[in-house]
């Protein structure tokens, strides 16, 4: 097991930051190429007219997931040393719902709003301001809701993963995720054909 390289090899922070920067450049480039700098394009997914977000996101998730499964099966990537988002079930779900509201109203998410800002979308700048404000407010009330956020009522389940939860191996879960994604893509294409005709001109 020699990966994650920076963890096993105990690389210095500076190198990790440089690499993160480079990866970020790639990420931002890909996002913009796919059109995610445009808030209207992003929002149209919720009206089933432009499902680019769904296609891109699930292609990405499936690809990375497959890579992780293969690499860990070869014994190259050590899952225990890799970051797996810890599960805090209830704040995760409530926070997710709130984020959903924000996405539908604002048309962006933090990563895409940065891309929007980089391509001079004025509304992205306003969105970013809103994000900063929302984060600030959360920081102020966070200690008050600690038992929900962190403690007894958070539904904390550690580094729980779908394979652990369902009881199947990661490879099997991955297989079904890929099948679901393919089905989703087929469905997305169908929906876009049905509802999307009026959406293909840019705003």
């Amino acid at each position: 097991m020699f990966a994650p390289l920076a963890v096993i090899g105990e690389w210095k922070d500076g190198i990790v930051w440089l690499i993160s920067f480079i990866l970020g450049v790639g990420w931002g480039f890909v996002l913009e190429s796919a059109g995610f700098g445009n808030s209207r394009k992003l929002a149209l997914q919720f009206y089933l007219r432009d499902l680019t977000v769904f296609k891109t996101m699930f292609s990405a998730i499936a690809t990375a997931m497959a890579g992780i499964i293969f690499l860990s099966a070869f014994g190259w990537l050590d899952l225990e040393s890799m970051f797996i988002n810890p599960t805090y079930l209830w704040p995760g779900i409530i926070g997710g719902l709130i984020m959903g509201v924000g996405f539908a109203v604002g048309g962006y998410c933090p990563g895409t709003s940065m891309v929007g800002l980089a391509t001079l979308k004025v509304d992205a700048a306003f969105y970013l301001t809103g994000i900063l404000f929302g984060i600030f407010v959360f920081g102020e009330i966070a200690p008050l809701i600690d038992s929900f956020f962190n403690g007894k009522y958070s539904g904390f389940m550690g580094r729980a993963t779908l394979p652990q939860f369902i009881g199947l191996s990661a490879g099997v879960v991955g297989f079904f995720v890929i099948l679901m994604a393919l089905g989703g893509f087929w469905g997305a294409e169908w929906l876009e054909r049905r509802f999307g005709k009026s959406a293909h001109r840019s705003a």
Partner: protein, 214 residues
């Protein structure tokens, strides 16, 4: 002509995806517990004292309802039943040191705190669990020390400063929560609950630098 080419690309893509997915179905998963023998890493942890937690921290965490915590009493069943720390679960040492126990009880990523009457047995259990990749700690001084400090806080005496007295009263309510016998009950009923106002509890250290998400 161009359209036909595009469709072909797409079909190749889907075909490739199916093959990959099919292979994935049969891939072995990673062994849940990471058994690793890293004596120098363990030595480092011991030297820095990162293998211990204090009774003060533990009582704070239990009071807060911190639920990424598993408290394990490794003494025999009879001793556990005579008296144990609130919220502890009993896994006697001989049962603990079995591969099947380790692989079933300690896979949820929670912080594990071990205690025995003193510390030697807990330390032995600690070594074993540590090599099995469990994030575990020894309770300083064990159950004996817990009894001395948390369950029987020292009365600072009549001439003590105000904050000493407040701390003592807070410590008494902690002791009551854990079922201890306080030597002198405080006269008025206005004892502050839970919050001792002492320093913030020690942050949990991971075995390497702890990876955080965003």
């Amino acid at each position: 002509m161009k359209l036909k080419l595009k469709l072909e690309n797409r079909q190749i893509g889907i075909f490739a995806v199916f093959i990959i997915a099919f292979i994935m179905l049969f891939l072995p998963g990673q062994d849940k517990s990471k058994y690793s023998f890293k004596p120098d890493a363990i030595a480092g942890i011991i030297k820095e004292g990162k293998d211990h937690v204090s009774p003060g921290d533990l009582s704070q965490w239990i009071l807060e309802g911190k639920n990424d915590l598993t408290l394990v009493d490794i003494r025999p069943k009879e001793e556990f039943e005579k008296g144990h720390i609130k919220s502890a679960k009993n896994i006697p040492l001989d049962a603990l040191m079995k591969r099947s126990t380790i692989e079933s009880e300690f896979v949820d990523g929670k912080m594990v705190i071990l205690y025995s009457n003193g510390t030697s047995h807990a330390a032995q259990a600690w070594l074993v669990l540590k090599t099995a990749g469990v994030d575990c700690y020894i309770l300083d001084g064990g159950y004996n020390y817990w009894n001395e400090t948390v369950l029987n806080p020292k009365d600072p005496g009549a001439g003590a400063a105000d904050d000493e007295i407040l701390k003592y009263q807070a410590a008494q309510s902690v002791a009551d929560y854990f079922g201890g016998a306080s030597q002198t009950k405080s006269g008025d009923g206005a004892v502050k609950g839970g919050d001792t106002g002492a320093k913030a509890p020690v942050k949990r250290e991971g075995k390497k630098k702890k990876l955080q998400g965003c």
